[in-house]
């Protein structure tokens, strides 16, 4: 009797998640093996690996995989390094620290569509945007960001959005540092760089793991930021795997090819997941 209760309590969550995972996966596998284009309902039938072949040989595929990894890697690197620097900068009390904290965290609560539009128009517009005005002020030629540097613009926007999150976690971690230890090291004549190397950074190891893990979950499938700014373009310059599948499904109406692509995305997520658990899981377990 008593052994039943824990299972009954666990069951609803496990069963719903299992359904949420298995039903779409099974359907995706099925769709990926048949001809299934919403615009050509008369064409049906089993085509084996045809959809996969089509998706991989699509010239956009390689670009999309590369863009996904670049986006993930760059944003993670920028936010972790930037976040640590920022957290160290505001770790010690100074006038207005509470306000600084509130201002810094704000972008994280802003929905991705707003962030993206704000940057697309008011910041990056090549004529009226603030960045263009700054460039003009310094006598430089304004840059057409979304056309000339589409992927890097998306990276910039996404990084701006995730930097507050990383910073906040690092600040929290720094607050639990042993102040006496730091004081003692200073008495012993340690320079700030030495303190950084031997005290601060080792202490932050675990929170870096947390940040990398959470960002990886969300950044592998960045969508809204691309959808609202560049729509993956120009060409495929800022298309990631998630957006490529979206294009196949809702713009080309080819559910079959989109499903094949989705299975690739799942594979990519699993590779990342294994890598992640290796790198981060151990660190989290402590």
């Amino acid at each position: 009797m008593n052994r039943l209760i824990p299972r009954v309590l666990l069951a609803p969550a496990v069963i719903t998640l299992l359904l949420w995972m298995i039903v779409p996966l099974a359907m995706t596998i099925y769709f990926s093996l048949i001809r299934y284009n919403l615009m050509q309902p008369d064409q049906t039938g089993f085509i084996g690996l045809g959809n996969f072949a089509y998706f991989i040989t699509d010239p956009a595929f390689g670009t999309a995989v590369l863009n996904t990894l670049l986006l993930l890697g760059s944003v993670t690197l920028i936010t972790v390094v930037g976040g640590i620097l920022l957290a160290l900068l505001i770790d010690e009390p100074f006038p207005g620290r509470t306000l600084v904290r509130i201002l810094l965290i704000s972008p994280f609560f802003v929905m991705p569509t707003v962030n993206a539009l704000l940057w697309k128009h008011m910041m990056m517009n090549p004529i009226y945007g603030v960045l263009a005005q700054v460039w003009l002020f310094f006598g430089a030629t304004p840059v057409d960001w979304l056309t000339d540097w589409p992927l890097w613009s998306v990276i910039l926007i996404v990084s701006w959005q995730w930097l507050p999150f990383a910073t906040l976690i690092f600040i929290t971690a720094l607050q639990s540092m042993d102040r006496e230890q730091i004081e003692a090291s200073r008495m012993d004549g340690a320079t700030y760089l030495q303190q950084l190397r031997y005290l601060y950074l080792p202490h932050l190891g675990r929170s870096v793991a947390v940040v990398v893990m959470i960002e990886m979950i969300f950044l592998l499938s960045v969508f809204a930021e691309i959808y609202t700014t560049t729509s993956g373009g120009p060409g495929d310059a800022s298309t990631n795997v998630a957006f490529l599948i979206f294009k196949q499904a809702l713009l080309n109406f080819d559910a079959g090819v989109a499903s094949a692509g989705a299975l690739f995305a799942v594979l990519l997520a699993n590779i990342a997941g294994v890598f992640l658990i290796r790198m981060v899981g151990k660190n989290l377990d402590k």
Binding site: I5, P6, L10, P12, A13, V14, L17, W20, P24, L25, M27, F31, L89, E92, F94, R101, I102, L103, I105, S106, P107, F108, F109, V110, M111, T113, V114, L117, L118, W119, H121, M122, V130, Q133, W160, I169, T172, A173, S176, R206, A209, V210, M216, S221, F223, A224, Y227, V241, F246, A249, L250, A255, A258, S259, A262, A269, A272, G273, L276, I277
Partner: protein
């Protein structure tokens, strides 16, 4: 310690640097707020205007043109209901894993998290087909189900890491005193886990409010959330920056202010208790 002057200089420099960086990072948002109170002409003036007579007309135009209140209502209902539903599903599971640890508990937790790593787009076609079949396209019910499911893994994780920090002996003691499972839950467990429930709920509220992928793809004029309303302003024809800003401000203000008040709770929850 013996260099008060250089310490003072470092202190001033640090303060200055911290404020500079903060203002730089906050600038885009601050600019959005300013632009929302400008006329369209002022919004695109060259050089950009810092001082101007604020106007409120953008806000009323946004409401008139695109029925802001309907979208806000959709956002509010879908995020609150999905959060409550998620908590109701996640709490028993987290409780069960935290206090009746089996050999496979860790695996179940890892598996749950791994379902979150599947990109949502991977499930787009089947979910779209299913929603269409069930008549749940462009419905709040459909969005609530999706939001609940996609937040569930994170909710279980967060609640689990909170619950496992509550000593089991307290619950056992209550059990020894003859409390039924329900009494144990109402009088001991629930009060002790309020903090965990709060931070988990807060995070899910923020995530659902800001969710864009599913709401863009599964909802339109009827069940559309604020994220879709804003996306509809991205049309390239004409520059309507001050209206865009006003709409954006109306969409983000509730959740940003909410976030300011709950940030401490949120961080604790977000890090699965791993960062103290």
């Amino acid at each position: 310690m013996t260099h008060p002057r250089s310490n003072l200089a470092t202190y001033l420099l640090r303060t200055l640097a911290a404020w500079l960086v903060t203002l730089l990072l906050f600038f885009p948002l601050g600019w959005l707020v300013l632009t929302a109170f400008k006329t369209e002409l002022q919004a695109i003036s060259v050089p950009p205007l810092l001082l101007f007579t604020p106007t409120l007309e953008n806000f009323s135009i946004v409401q008139e043109r695109s029925d802001y209140l309907l979208y806000a209502q959709n956002s509010l209902i879908t995020s609150v209901v999905s959060t409550l539903l998620g908590l109701a599903l996640a709490f028993p599971a987290a409780y069960s894993m935290a206090y009746f640890k089996g050999p496979r508990t860790k695996d179940i937790l890892m598996w749950m998290l791994s379902t979150k790593m599947m990109p949502a787009v991977g499930a787009l076609v089947p979910v779209y087909v299913l929603a269409q079949g069930a008549g749940l396209l462009d419905s709040r019910t459909g969005l609530v189900i999706i939001f609940t499911l996609s937040n569930l893994p994170i909710m279980v994780w967060m609640l689990y890491s909170h619950l496992k920090d509550i000593p089991g002996e307290i619950l056992e003691a209550a059990g020894m005193d003859g409390a039924t499972l329900w009494q144990e839950f109402r009088q001991v467990l629930l009060p002790l886990s309020m903090g965990g429930l709060a931070s988990t709920g807060l995070l899910c509220l923020v995530l659902s409010w800001n969710e864009a992928f599913w709401s863009l793809n599964l909802s339109a004029a009827k069940a559309g959330t604020l994220a879709t309303l804003i996306a509809s302003y991205s049309s390239p024809e004409g520059l309507f920056w001050s209206k865009l800003s006003a709409a954006s401000l109306m969409a983000i203000a509730p959740i940003v202010v909410f976030g300011w008040f709950s940030q401490k709770q949120l961080v604790q929850g977000l890090t699965f208790g791993a960062v103290k």
